[in-house]
Structure formats: C-alpha cells, structure tokens
Symmetry: C2
Subunit: 101 residues, 2 copies
DNA sequence: AAAACATATTGACAATCATGAATGTAAGGA
DNA sequence: TCCTTACATTCATGATTGTCAATATGTTTT
C-alpha cells in the first residue's frame, strides 16, 4: 500500500496558519478578505495557503463577483478521520516478532 | 489561540514512510529490525523517523536489551482525532461576512 | 577484552516549504 | 476607457525536511 495521497492530505494540517484558517472557515463560509484581516500574513501568503487547502480537497472555493468565499469540505475531513481510525486499528495480521530470536 | 503544537503533531502524519510505520505498529508492539526489514529505507533514516514519531508523542519506545520496541500511543491519536473534530465544528461565533459590503 | 550486533548521531546534500515584494489578471465602478 | 479593488502568480530567499554514508554509542557474546 502507498500512503502518498494520505501524507499529502495531512500536509494541509501541518502549518499553524492553515489550522487557523480551517478553524475560521468552520464557523461558516468565509471571504478571503476576512481571513486576511484576521491572520497576520501577507496577501500572497494567504493565497498560497488557500491553494494548498483547496488542492488537498479540504476546502472548497466559490467566486462571487470580485470576492472568493471558502467553505470546509466536511466529507474530506470525515475521510481524514476515518483514515486515522483505520490506520491505528490492528489489521488482523499478528505483530511479527523481532527477526532475531 | 496558537496552533503550533497541533501543527507539530500532524507533521507526524506528513510522510509516507511514517504512515506505513504507524500502520505496522498498529498491529502490535514492533521491533526496529522488523520495520527496517519492511520499509525500503536505510537504518539512519528509520531512526530519524522514529525520533520524530516519539518526539511527537504518537509512538512510545521500550528498550529490551539490544532491541527497541515501539507501540502506538493510542491516547495521542484520540487527541488528534478530537482536535480535528473540534477544529471543524462551528465554535458558536457567527461567520463574519465579507468586510466590504 | 574484543568482536559482533542494534540503534543513534553527525554531516552533507538535494528537495520542499513558508514568506513577501513585485507583478499579473479579473471584475466592478467612474 | 481608466481607475480601483480582490485575488493569483512569479520570483527570490531563508528555513525545514528526507535521505544516506560515516561514525558513535550501547548491549551481548565470545
């Protein structure tokens, strides 16, 4: 099994600014300008993080004339949690003992 | 609120090799040598990943004479899942609308 | 004490990443 | 058409990361 996709998914959660963005968006659809107001980062940096969040599928964007609104993709978060559950559950295989006696 | 600790926690899940290690350990206490046998990485690289996993608190190590055995710290995984739940749940604050009209 | 084995640390390197200044693009208003 | 606003992209830079060879440390065996 290859874990590349899941590793990529968790990269969305590896940056404090992205975690704060997710937390803000979790309260409801949020405009870029509100995020920019609350985070102490530049506009290009915010744009960079939003691209990562959208590419990872965790966040969905919607354009309304000049503005862009973001929402959480709850399905993907559920997938992340389900993956963590599956990952940490014994998969039937008995734990192989140390190779050397 | 500061998300530095949580961002650090998720870094444990950001590498495919570490995800595979976690998956292997989830079947039961596992020796370094077994991990080294199953992963296609060098011994120093494995040691590096185990250090990250232990420092993040997700994995616990135990020495038995020459060998070191690893187990998952299930509590920490539960914390991670609980954090994801809290993060993606509306925190009461109504979503602030776009600053500009 | 010496050799063999298991794991950790150091050092070097290439790759990725977060950041912001400058610039580009798209949309609305004058 | 020009100007302003909102966001994206490009580019450069410093920091972090994953990797392995070489070496060190700790443990058991001979």
């Amino acid at each position: 099994m290859n874990y590349a996709l899941q590793a990529r998914m968790f990269k969305a959660f590896c940056d404090e600014n992205r975690l704060q963005i997710i937390d803000l968006i979790s309260d409801g659809e949020t405009c870029s300008c509100v995020l920019l107001e609350k985070l102490e980062i530049s506009q290009p940096t915010l744009s960079h993080h939003m691209k990562i969040l959208c590419d990872s599928g965790m966040v969905i964007s919607r354009r309304d004339s000049k503005w862009i609104y973001y929402t959480l993709n709850q399905e993907r978060f559920d997938e992340a949690k389900a993956f963590l559950d599956a990952l940490t559950t014994a998969s039937g295989e008995p734990p192989k003992k140390c190779v050397n006696t």
